[in-house]
């Protein structure tokens, strides 16, 4: 098991951080991620994070839910065990709409949550390495992965400090 080594730039101001991200990325450094106590507006764009494709998955789950609901009701009430309810036809679409709507929502919601857990690598009892506990309080922590032989730690240190980092630390994380 190899350990991963990160350089952590500590920032205490949102605006300084956003400008630093732009400059550090412009200098050709790849920022692994930024830990922040609260969501920062515009940080996704600044970090160049692509928008999630989760909505497409959600739409497909919704279609599955709708199809399942219609199949279930049409099969059950139309073929498997036809019953006359309120003098309506066996396959009475208006009566099926509320259930179809609910199952569409149910499939979409559960599908999205489960997909989100899977693509984010979240599972029960996961151990998440905390880079710096202050990122849960009042500091922004910018993590940059050190690639052996490629990254010039000294240069990175000055780059971070020049762009407003109040501290630069190193941290090793068990992979």
């Amino acid at each position: 098991m190899t350990n991963k080594k990160y350089i952590l730039g500590v920032y205490d101001d949102e605006d300084v951080l956003l400008h630093a991200i732009d400059k550090i990325r412009a200098a050709g450094t790849k920022i692994t991620t930024v830990f922040s106590p609260y969501p920062v507006h515009g940080i996704d764009d600044a970090l160049g994070i692509e928008r999630t494709k989760l909505p497409i998955a959600a739409f497909l789950y919704g279609c599955c839910g709708l199809a399942f609901a219609l199949w279930m009701q049409i099969y059950m009430l139309g073929f498997d065990w036809p019953m006359i309810i309120g003098g309506k036809p066996h396959i009475a679409l208006p009566a099926f709409i509320p259930v179809s709507f609910e199952l569409t929502v149910l499939f979409t919601a559960h599908g999205m949550v489960i997909t989100f857990f899977i693509i984010s690598g979240l599972y029960p009892r996961i151990k998440v390495p905390v880079m710096d506990v202050r990122s849960t309080d009042d500091k922004f922590i910018m993590a940059i992965e050190v690639q052996e032989g490629k990254t010039d730690i000294k240069k990175l240190d000055t780059l971070l400090r020049d762009n407003g980092a109040i501290e630069v630390n190193e941290k090793e994380v068990a992979k």
Binding site: H41, G42, R51, P55, F59, G86, G87, K88, P94, A95, I97, P98
Partner: protein, 424 residues
């Protein structure tokens, strides 16, 4: 620097007058066509007529003219009052995002005084053509026309009270629109927070009044056409139709201003939020449509289900396609087209949906008003097109005139800066 004043070229305002002129010509042509073909028409649907409302008057071009005037006036009045309603919501919610189009919302209320005049005139002249209950003999126990159901509603559905309600509602809406706009214009000159705080109080008062007046106006102006029939959620159904139309008009005006170099602070994020509202309220409209439909379909009581029978199946399927078309254009189309984030941020997609739902909700009011007034003898021809164009021309003339009368951006709005950085 931020202040922007709109100038409407002579050519553009001439185009609006041309719309009115064209509408008048089409209307007159339509009237002649209807006059010449109307005679042979009304013999056929006799038994259906009797089932509909009990009235046995022949349908002529006069009925059709008044039904059309009423339809368009209700539609455009709704759009206008939504400008006031949505603007008031922005104030009480302390909303910052809506600042770039506050003036558009204020301006579309400019139609209200004209709408009030048309409503009163049309009611005074054409009440018998539109409202079955205005026939006095229905309330007279000695008369053969006596209708105990309608007579039972006399405490509410009588002409003096109806006119009082109409005058009070239009009056309140016009007054509040003027009052809110006055605060906003004085804020432009003097600045400070006092006007904003006062606007919140005015808006809160208006919203309480609108809660009552929007419901009752929907019963009065639309639901009472089908006098025997009633629906407990009809007021919301009309309101949702108005809301979608009003927001579509606001969005379209914002887009056209932006494309002509105005509203520089308006960006894709503002349009995204407007798109969300159109998307959301389209689904809300469908929810109400279905809630109303399903209960009646399920219970299948003759006096209730007649409303849907008339609109689906009766009169030789005269209205059936419109009912299905409305569900498509007002629900399926906005749902599928505006579902993705990118679509709500693209001007072309928003334009397609806005024009579609504006037409769709006009057709929705058509379906609410026509079967009760013209039974199976309504049409979609020169008369409908002409009347709609006249009202559209008047609406655009009044709204653009109001838009040019002040800066397009409320320069001292306390949330101006926040709105510039609006980000979703």
């Amino acid at each position: 620097m931020i202040e922007e004043s709109l100038t409407i070229s002579k050519r553009t305002s001439n185009r609006f007058f041309f719309l009115i002129g064209l509408g008048l010509v089409l209307l007159i042509v339509g009237i002649f066509i209807t006059m010449n073909s109307g005679g042979g028409h009304h013999g056929g649907g006799g038994h259906e007529e009797a089932a509909a409302a009990g009235g046995h008057h022949a349908i002529t071009w006069v009925n059709r003219l008044f039904a059309n005037l009423w339809l368009n006036n209700v539609y455009f009045t709704g759009i206008a009052v939504i400008g006031l309603f949505f603007g008031a919501i922005q104030y009480v919610a302390y909303a910052g995002w809506s600042v770039p189009f506050v003036r558009i919302l204020q301006s579309i209320t400019a139609y209200l005084p004209f709408g009030a005049a048309v409503a009163l005139i049309v009611f005074f002249i054409g009440q018998h053509q539109i409202f079955h209950w205005t026939d006095n003999s229905l309330f007279d126990t000695a008369s053969p026309n006596y209708d105990p159901i309608i007579a039972g509603k006399a405490g509410f559905l009588n002409k003096p009270f109806f006119i009082i309600r109409m005058v009070v509602f239009y009056g309140a809406w016009i007054y509040f629109a003027w009052w809110l706009r006055k605060q906003s214009l004085e804020e432009d000159i003097n600045g400070g927070l006092s006007y904003y705080h006062k606007s919140i109080r005015i808006s809160a008062m208006f919203l309480v009044i609108f809660g009552v007046s929007s419901s009752i106006s929907a019963w009065d102006w639309v639901m009472s056409i089908d006098t025997h029939w009633f629906s407990t959620l009809f007021a919301w159904y009309v309101l949702s139709s108005w809301l979608v139309s009003g927001l579509a008009v606001t969005t379209l005006i914002a887009i056209f201003l932006k494309q002509n170099g105005y509203l520089k602070m308006l960006n894709a994020d503002h349009l995204h939020d407007l798109g969300k509202f159109i998307f959301g309220f389209s689904i809300f409209w469908t929810y109400l449509w279905f809630s109303q439909f399903m209960l009646y379909w399920y219970a299948n009581l003759p006096e209730e289900v007649i409303y849907f029978k008339e609109r689906f199946g009766m009169y030789n399927d005269h209205y059936s396609w419109i009912l299905l078309f409305n569900l498509f254009i007002n629900f399926a189309l906005p749902l599928l087209v505006l579902m993705t984030r990118d679509a709500k941020r693209q001007v072309i997609m928003l334009k397609i949906v806005c024009f579609a739902v504006l037409f769709g909700h006009w057709m929705d009011f058509y379906l609410m008003i026509m079967p009760g007034t013209l039974r199976g003898e309504s049409g979609l021809g020169f008369m409908e097109l002409g009347t709609a164009l006249i009202f559209l021309g008047v609406f655009l003339t009044l709204v653009t005139r109001k838009l040019t009368s002040a800066s397009l951006i409320p320069v001292n709005h306390p949330f101006l800066e926040e709105s510039m950085h609006h980000h979703v």
